[in-house]
């Protein structure tokens, strides 16, 4: 394997994310039942099915892939997660336009652009009990691994682990963003569903890149 990630590796990522979401669909909805409105699993599954349907024709570049993914999520998911995940991908695409090869540093920069987009849209900070609680630490872990010369797969592994820790850390938190915030104190004691799906996203990336190595 080379340290360069191909477009088809990234397509494999999206497919793996779709499969993971389908497998965890009921669990994501269950988490959203506890502190939300019981639709996060079906929202994400619906959107990713639509994405997969668009991937029959192989995209020419990461930029094109992420544009398709982002646009499709925005136009099929709805809810809070639709614009947020959509923005994540829509911002990742342009960040990779010039990247050659797509190495760990380039992917990390794209991820950063994506997460910053999510923050700009959703105005959430770490600790607000949202997907940001998984995405932000993942980003830090990625960057530090990449600085240490890790391969994309290894960086993704570190990011996935950090995301999972971030997800778990949402449990005791009182939500300050999203509909879980309406529960006030009662939102504590439950994992955030968006942090859970974001962890699946990073784990899917780790698995896709590991398989490609």
């Amino acid at each position: 394997m080379s340290a360069a990630v191909t477009t088809s590796d990234l397509v494999a990522w999206i497919r793996a994310f779709r499969d993971a979401v389908h497998q965890q669909k009921d669990e994501l909805t269950r988490l959203d039942s506890e502190i939300g409105d019981a639709d996060h699993g079906s929202n994400m599954a619906r959107g990713l099915d639509a994405v997969i349907a668009k991937l029959d024709v192989a995209p020419a570049s990461p930029t094109e892939l992420f544009k398709t993914v982002g646009m499709t999520l925005v136009s099929t998911v709805g809810g809070a997660s639709g614009p947020l995940y959509g923005t994540l991908f829509l911002r990742m695409g342009p960040a990779l336009a010039e990247a050659d090869p797509v190495d760990a540093a380039a992917l990390g920069a794209a991820l950063r652009a994506g997460v910053e987009g999510v923050i700009a849209r959703g105005k959430a900070e770490v600790g607000d009990k949202t997907m940001i609680d998984a995405l932000s630490p993942a980003l830090e872990a990625w960057d530090s691994a990449a600085r240490d010369g890790a391969s994309p797969a290894a960086a993704a592994g570190a990011a996935a682990e950090a995301a999972a820790r971030g997800r778990d850390a949402t449990e005791p938190l009182v939500a300050r963003k999203g509909r879980a915030s309406y529960l006030g104190e009662r939102s504590a004691g439950h994992l955030d569903p968006g942090a859970a799906s974001a962890t699946l996203l990073l784990e899917a990336l780790r698995d896709a890149l590991a398989a490609a190595e």
């Binding site: 909805t29 639709d39 079906s42 925005v74 809810g79 639709g82 509909r179």
Partner: protein, 331 residues
């Protein structure tokens, strides 16, 4: 799950078919899941566009028609519509005089309408937005996503729809919308959970002797779970925080008591029989009352109370003709 459904994944598309079959005055854009008036917006008339997750019927699709909305975008159950949907509704409804987006304050609704407004602006449509955030159950709104948007939305759509029908321009329409939005307070109580078709089971379990106080309209648990109380006590749980939130004496008001979907009208009337004297005691001068299922949460047993302080203009516009599936009078 005991529901009139086929495949839970098709609930929205199939409900829209029924709406189209039942209402020749409406046009359903099945692809975009948008409900429009059958007649295009009159040239020069500002268009009102709303939308949100489904499961709150008759809101919003049932409020499309003369004197109220021009179009509504219907998201999946409890899921705000996508920007594409809202854009389609916006473009179809615009007559050139601009469009008011009426948005309930949920992260998903706000973000999707925001993106739609950006897209519409890029297409040359003038868009103003009003965000309704009237749910007094949410007390720590400064540090969070803010209050939820609930019953005031219905009253706003009616009042502002009447002004738009009179030919007011976008600035005036948006200004009134903000005034109504600020004048409204709501509070909801649930006796049972609801069941989201795609989830197939109740969103939360509630013991036979407990209820949820301070719920929104998405089947989420409320601010607190307390012992099941009598209608008299529940009325107090609804009226007190609203009156308290108004602070000063409330003036003339429009009151909406909405069932949440699983509570029959006889109970709603009984509850209102307890609410009315409490409002009177608190000095609320109730000028208009609407009781029934207007903003619902699927099959949840429960009710929400909305009080909108209404000046003469608002009352006049409230009484103006409206011809929609959900509200109809004067024509």
């Amino acid at each position: 799950m005991k529901k009139f459904v086929n495949d839970p994944a098709d609930v929205l598309a199939e409900a829209l078919r029924g709406i189209q079959a039942a209402h020749p005055d409406l046009r359903v854009d099945a692809e975009n899941r948008v409900i429009l008036r059958a007649e295009p917006t009159r040239a020069g008339k500002v268009a009102l566009v709303s939308g949100g997750g489904s499961g709150h019927e008759p809101m919003h699709g049932g409020f499309v028609g003369r004197g109220m909305l021009d179009a509504a975008a219907a998201g999946e159950v409890f899921t705000s519509p996508t920007p594409d949907q809202v854009l389609a509704a916006t473009q179809a409804a615009d007559s050139g005089a601009g469009v008011l987006h009426i948005v309930k304050n949920y992260t998903g609704d706000v973000l999707n309408f925001e993106m739609a407004a950006e897209l519409a602006a890029a297409e040359g449509v003038q868009v103003e937005s009003v965000v309704v955030a009237d749910d007094v159950a949410v007390t720590d709104s400064t540090w969070t996503a803010g209050r939820r948007g609930t019953g005031t939305t219905v009253i706003l759509e009616k009042i502002v729809g009447a002004l738009a029908e009179e030919g007011a321009d976008l600035a005036a329409v948006a200004a009134l919308a903000r005034r109504v939005s600020e004048a409204g307070r709501s509070m909801g109580v649930a006796l049972t959970s609801c069941t989201v078709p795609a989830a197939g089971r109740p969103t939360f379990e509630l013991p036979d002797d407990e209820m949820e106080v301070g719920v929104g309209i998405h089947g989420e648990p409320g601010r607190s779970r307390v012992k099941l109380a009598s209608a008299r006590e529940i009325a107090k749980l609804m009226v007190d925080p609203i009156v308290h939130d108004f602070g000063d004496a409330v003036g003339p008001a429009i009151v909406l008591l909405s069932g949440l979907g699983g509570t029959p009208l006889i109970e709603q009337y009984l509850l209102y029989g307890e609410i009315a004297p409490l409002l009177a005691d608190a000095g609320v001068d109730v000028q208009r009352v609407l009781i029934g299922d207007y903003i619902t949460s699927l099959d949840m047993a429960g009710a929400s109370l909305t009080v909108v302080e209404a000046d003469d203009e608002m009352l006049r516009l409230w009484d103006a003709p409206v011809v929609t599936p959900g509200l109809r009078w004067g024509a």
